[in-house]
């Protein structure tokens, strides 16, 4: 279907055909070397088997893999379930957590489309109507006025009508997973409506009422974390073993003895990493341990369930799961009687535990929580570490994780650090609270079902690829190693996969990594070359 012809009514089409098809030449143009669309990687089509089995009639991909109902009765039952969830979404007892901002967004959107200009998914897709922030919201709004407010003809005349059927619900499930919930759109809305919240609330409805969520977020995400302690599958013993190995490796590599303290009662700080770091980027928790020890901090890690994995995927799709994991984090801190929790380099964990859980954790679970960024800034600026910026004399740019920056206001500490220790630091444009999402936000970084990763690199991550290429535009030559600092595990996951997808390491020597690695790399007490210029 031609994107110009897409209307709101199309969402209810019974035809088992995607509403839109994306062609490389329709997407937002990229700068050199991708200015020729033929140079971008090919998009893998969905297999016939997948199309046969799952509801994938939205676009060219499939994120949630909802099985196709076998009968009209089954469809009707699912629609009835959706309707009952819709009612709950707008009720105080069921959804006190977000009712006020959701109602405000439903009631007052002026449909001026200012939000669309701010959305990297919409822009990246070449302004495809399906990905316009208001497309999803307007469908929910019409359903809200029709079925929750019980609006009749007059309401349909005022707010617009929509036909509710299973194809609409199935497509809406998928469409709720085409938004990074970076809330850049909300930041520009003159009224203050929040289309990112709409995606969040839809996911919540599907999860909490219909039991439908992306497998990576629920089954192998929050459920696994609540079962064994970490969505990586590591139990306490495994994580301790891994950290012991990391300590050994970092000690050898840096020439400084590193030992991570475990379960130290009464320590000042409980440090919680995204456990993905431990497996995928062990130098990151290793660098943290080295810095904290060198700075003489009183700190510990916890082997309590979820106490060693800061991830909280519930923040993207399910309030109950979110609260459960946040409570587990707080319980780990309470048990150790620490003075505060410090979050490692993970954006969504920052936002989830520091800010959103602020109105879930009460009484003795309300333990102070803070970002690692100001703490690292204070350490670096205090002179407690001997640092030589010349060791970081290569082009560096800084990615702003949305959760940390736009949604939490932690903007400068990380900049103060890179400005001090990276002589060739340059900003992406725009940056800070106006940044663009990496395209992996809201769980996408860990989601690759079928060909979904093609969508997240070609569409969701497109704007970020443009920003990275522009930041390094004068030094793209592969003889110059370049460092993309992304102080967030999920962003790093997205960059790892996306830089590989566009071959930016092989062709242009753009490496990604965290912030603490740059600090340790600049420490004069450490053997030179902590950052290894090799792909991982």
């Amino acid at each position: 279907m031609n994107k110009e012809k897409l209307s709101l009514a199309d969402i209810s089409k019974r035809e088992k055909k995607p509403l839109v098809h994306l062609e490389s030449q329709d997407l937002m143009p990229l700068p050199a070397p991708f200015d020729d669309p033929a140079r971008t990687p090919d998009w893998r089509p969905l297999s016939a088997q997948v199309k046969e089995k799952y509801e994938c009639f939205l676009d060219d991909t499939c994120a949630v893999s909802v099985p196709q109902p076998k009968s009209r009765e089954e469809e009707e039952a699912l629609v009835a379930k959706f309707l009952s969830g819709l009612e709950k979404l707008f009720s105080r007892e069921n959804n006190w957590t977000f009712l006020q901002p959701l109602l405000l967004t439903m009631d007052y959107c002026a449909k001026c489309q200012t939000c669309a200009e701010a959305c990297h998914v919409f822009e990246g897709s070449g302004r495809n109507e399906l990905y316009r922030p208001t497309y999803r919201s307007e469908i929910l709004r019409r359903l809200y006025f029709k079925y929750v407010q019980r609006g009749g003809l007059l309401s349909a005349w005022q707010h617009g009508d929509i036909e509710l059927n299973w194809p609409l619900v199935a497509r809406l499930i998928e469409l709720s997973y085409r938004c990074n919930i970076c809330r850049r759109c909300a930041q520009t809305c003159p009224i203050g409506a929040d289309n990112g919240l709409v995606a969040h609330e839809l996911r919540k409805l599907f999860s909490q009422e219909m039991g439908i969520a992306a497998k990576e977020l629920h089954d192998s995400g929050s459920m696994l974390q609540l079962k064994v302690g970490s969505s990586t599958g590591m139990n306490a013993e495994a994580v301790k073993d891994n950290i012991a190995f990391i300590d050994e490796d970092i000690s050898e590599k840096t020439g400084i003895e590193v030992k991570t303290p475990w379960d130290v009662e009464g320590a000042d700080i409980l440090l919680i990493h995204n456990a993905g770091e431990i497996l995928a980027w062990p130098e990151n928790p290793g660098a943290f341990a080295l810095i904290f020890n060198a700075a003489g901090l009183s700190w510990t890690m916890s082997s309590e369930i979820a106490g060693y994995d800061s991830i909280n995927y519930g923040v993207w799709y399910d309030d109950a799961q979110f609260a459960r994991v946040a409570i587990k984090h707080a319980e780990a801190a309470r048990k150790l009687k620490v003075k505060k929790i410090v979050l490692g380099e993970c954006g969504h964990a920052h936002k989830a535990l520091t800010v959103i859980a602020d109105r879930v954790l009460t009484g003795d679970l309300n333990i102070p929580r803070e970002s690692c960024m100001p703490l690292l800034r204070d350490i670096v600026m205090s002179g407690r570490l001997k640092l030589d910026p010349a060791r970081n004399n290569f082009p560096v740019t800084l990615h702003d994780p949305c959760n940390l920056v736009r949604l939490m206001g932690v903007v400068e500490p990380q900049r103060e650090i890179v400005r001090k220790i990276c002589p060739q630091f340059r900003e992406m444009e725009p940056h800070g609270v106006d940044n663009y999402c990496c395209g992996g936000g809201s769980g996408f970084a860990i989601m690759s079902p079928h060909n979904f990763s093609d969508w997240r690199f070609q569409v969701a991550g497109r704007k970020k690829v443009e920003q990275v290429l522009n930041a390094f535009r004068e030094c793209l030559d592969p003889s110059i190693p370049k460092y993309l600092c992304a102080p967030c595990s999920n962003c790093k996951g997205q960059f790892r996969d996306m830089l590989a997808y566009y071959d930016l390491w092989e062709q242009h020597r753009i490496l990604y990594g965290g912030l603490v690695e740059l600090i340790v790399n600049a420490m004069t007490d450490v053997k030179p070359g902590f950052i290894e210029w090799e792909w991982r």
């Binding site: 069921n94 307007e138 109950a320 803070e370 932690v410």
Partner: protein
């Protein structure tokens, strides 16, 4: 005489409906439970040094031990340009702002002029000497010019918005018949008021007499039909606005102050924490098995249950 009385009654009734409708909306939103924190930066009441880059008090270590001064100047500097000049729209959607700003500024002028006119009329009833002579002339000029300029700007803006809604492909998809009606309603109402007032025959009541008549229920005044139609439409419009999303001036207060800029931390033992404790006693009914809600268990019970380990943990 009866017609005039009906007109007065209608205007009063519409004003009451408008006020009541706005109050109901504001109260409805104010009574909703406190939501989870969902702020967006920059938050303009942050300290000036942090506000310039959009930072928050979370940029400090041990932030809970440090004062968090409220930057009223910062908030006013953000609010006033937004309220008066639609700063966000100007910055992020210039084509729309070029149409929306005249419309809204025209409305402000009309509302301001009506207020000035009402004040003048009421004072002239009790202390006419206060609004006579040069002051009276200035006031007359101010509310007349303000009102007429406001009507012209509002109509021009509404026409421009209407044309854009009808011709822009991207807006058309989201435009309902109600949206078209709303803009046409504004255009017709203000056009009627404008022409009805300017073309009123000699001897017809002036604006100030109209308000005085309204205040004193002076039924001896006779209004020419075009002006009376404009007044009826104006009254209807005022009553209609709170029933639509055009009352976004109410919503905007909440979206900005209660969502986007609500960065209040829940400190241990605070009143905010007590409110949350109340919400944790709510009993949801979400149906997915992993939630474990049945209408009897509280939000706190559910949050303390580990579905992966089959019970309370």
């Amino acid at each position: 005489m009866t017609t005039t009385l009906l007109l007065y009654s209608f205007i009063y009734l519409a004003a009451l409906v408008c006020l009541f409708g706005c109050a109901v909306q504001a109260i409805r939103y104010a009574r909703l439970p406190l939501h989870l924190r969902w702020e967006l930066y920059p938050v303009p009441h942050e300290e000036a040094s942090r506000l310039k880059h959009g930072g928050s008090y979370l940029e400090e270590t041990d932030w809970w031990k440090k004062p968090r001064p409220f930057n009223l100047v910062g908030e006013l500097k953000s609010m006033l340009p937004e309220m008066l000049f639609q700063k966000a729209l100007r910055e992020f959607n210039r084509p729309m702002w070029l149409r929306s700003f005249p419309f809204h500024f025209g409305l402000y002028l009309l509302i301001g002029s009506t207020g000035l006119l009402a004040g003048t009329a009421v004072i002239s009833l009790s202390s006419p000497q206060l609004v006579s002579g040069l002051i009276g002339t200035i006031l007359h000029f101010a509310y007349t010019a303000g009102g007429l300029a406001g009507a012209v700007l509002a109509v021009a803006g509404a026409v421009a918005l209407l044309i854009r809604r009808l011709t822009d492909k991207e807006l058309k998809i989201y435009t309902t018949p109600g949206d078209i009606f709303n803009l046409v309603f504004f255009i017709v109402t203000f056009s009627c008021l404008f022409t009805g007032y300017l073309l009123r025959p000699q001897g017809a009541p002036k604006a100030v007499e109209l308000v005085q008549g309204l205040v004193t229920f002076n039924t001896r005044l006779a209004f020419p039909l075009p002006l009376a139609v404009g007044l009826v439409l104006g009254a209807l419009l005022a009553a209609y606005i709170p029933l639509t999303h055009m009352s976004h001036f109410i919503g905007k207060f909440f979206t900005y102050h209660f969502v986007r800029w609500d960065d209040a931390p829940s400190l241990r033992g605070s009143s905010l924490e007590k409110k949350i404790a109340e919400y944790l006693t709510y009993r949801p009914r979400w149906a997915a098995p992993h939630v474990g809600a049945n209408g009897a268990r509280t939000w706190a019970d559910i949050a303390m249950t580990n579905p992966a380990q089959g019970g309370r943990k």
